[in-house]
């Protein structure tokens, strides 16, 4: 527990079939900090997070949890790690057949022997925390996308996780709700000491909450450091991303025409959609 870094990524490579989507990615997730993973669409952010939460297995000596190689985890190790984390998926991933309160109560009912009254109090507190008091008996389909996402956050917080992973917190939300979510993430980190890993491509939100930033491009680590260091980075692609400049013009017209005619490969930047 004294290790300053919760997770260490020491040269992570990832493949979909023959296609490589992450190339030798290296950084660490410091304890009790907000780490933001940024990058354009399809750069491998979501794949990276899937490795961090154990949905994709890393190869040996690539990914370490508090010094232990996650590739060597057995089922019990993975389950005990997962009881320490909370994950908010992009769409909220609520169970459609359950009401909001039942959705949030699922982890408590499976992993604890708490009385129903206690569970119901905890659920109400968590839903209040994300601004959804009074919606306990609604079905997910009766809620807007933003509300579903906040309910998903309530569910990921219900076991009081040590590490919280959030995939695209502000996508599909109005600016006010998005800012509220950002503040909630900050509050969790500052007051409760939760380690937070956020995946986003919203620059304002990223600079608002980040203690550390990681920028990916085409599956490769472009830059990692404090928000100031990233802002002052001289790297072309980082500057382009931060200044929201569109893709530069085609470098090779001949390759472009060959691509259109199906003769030879099309020259592009970045990787495929993950």
């Amino acid at each position: 527990m004294n290790d300053p870094n919760v997770l260490e990524i020491k040269g992570l490579n990832s493949f979909y079939g023959d296609r490589q989507v992450l190339f030798d990615v290296r950084f660490a997730v410091p304890r009790r900090c907000v780490t933001v993973i940024m990058g354009p669409s399809g750069c491998g952010k979501s794949t990276l997070v899937r490795h961090l939460i154990g949905l994709y297995r890393a190869r040996p000596r690539e990914l370490f949890l508090e010094g232990r190689d996650m590739a060597l985890f057995r089922r019990e190790d993975m389950n005990s790690y997962r009881r320490r984390i909370g994950v908010l998926f992009q769409g909220g991933a609520l169970f459609n057949s359950l009401t909001l309160k039942d959705n949030v109560a699922v982890p408590l009912r499976v992993h604890t022997r708490l009385a129903e009254e206690t569970i119901s109090v905890i659920v109400r507190i968590k839903l209040h925390q994300v601004g959804l008091s009074g919606f306990e008996d609604y079905m997910p389909s009766q809620l807007s996308g933003g509300m579903q996402k906040r309910a998903g956050l309530a569910r990921s917080l219900v076991m009081d996780p040590e590490i919280l992973f959030v995939d695209e917190p502000s996508s599909g939300l109005d600016p006010i709700t998005a800012a509220g979510l950002d503040n909630l993430i900050l509050e969790l980190c500052r007051t409760l000491g939760v380690t937070v890993v956020v995946v986003t491509h919203e620059l304002d939100s990223a600079f608002h909450i980040a203690d550390q930033m990681v920028v990916l491009d085409g599956g490769r680590l472009l830059a990692a450091g404090t928000p100031e260091a990233i802002k002052n980075s001289g790297e072309d692609r980082v500057v382009q991303f931060l200044e929201r400049r569109a893709e530069a013009g085609r470098e090779d017209d001949e390759a472009y025409w060959r691509g259109l005619l199906g003769k030879g490969s099309f020259k592009t930047h970045g990787g495929g959609e993950t």
């Binding site: 154990g54 994950v87 459609n96 699922v106 499976v110």
Partner: protein, 263 residues
Amino acid sequence: MMMVEPVRSLGAFTLLFLSRLGRMGMFLGRTLRGMGQPPGKLRPTLKQIHFIGTKSFFVIGFTASFTGMVLALQGYYTLSQFGSEGLLGSAVAMSLIRELGPVLTALMVTGRAGSAMCAEIGIIRIDEQIDALECMAIDPHSYLVAPRLLAGLVALPLLTAFCDVVGIFGGYVVGVELLGVNPGAYLQGIEISIVWDDVYMGIVKSFIFAFIMIWICTCKGFYAGLDEGSFGPEVVSRATTDAVVLSSVSILIGDYVVTSILL
């Protein structure tokens, strides 16, 4: 080069077939192991019994009554050529209890509940809910699949029994009321000709068909889109079609195998 290509395709096909088969086997193994794990199975199993069993009553009753009626109609004209109309009850009951009851029930439940089950689990997959379960350290096999398998094993034999009774009654209506077969002969024919072995065969078949149907339908939904690497709605429709076709074919093949073993 021309020689290599067919061999390569055959090899690729065999590998794919074996890997799918292996995956289905592991899926079943995890589901069976998940039956004994938390969360409790009683409530979700009862809910699924309601979905698979209770809600199928009407369609099974409808199918069974018309099957019994047409069996009586066909049987009557065949038997009357030999002057053996009195055997009608035994012919109808024998066909239903040994063969048609379990097979028809399984096929109808595949169409009504198996397809819905596959689509539901497929949507859960593409909506990242299975990932969410895994991230909460909840085994999705135990949480999603085990209650459905248990419910199928309870509901299908009961539905099959219901199908048999309604079918025999349908045969009675046509044979006795419409065609004038002696009611006593119809019912006594059943009593004399049906022995425990016939009922046993029907029960064994319904358990096996329930197992095959739920296994295939839940497995297809569970892995929807994983092979294609895409998670759009089209993968759910494809998985559902595959599940219904594969379940139906497997039930018919299974019927032949079980009959040949138990006869």
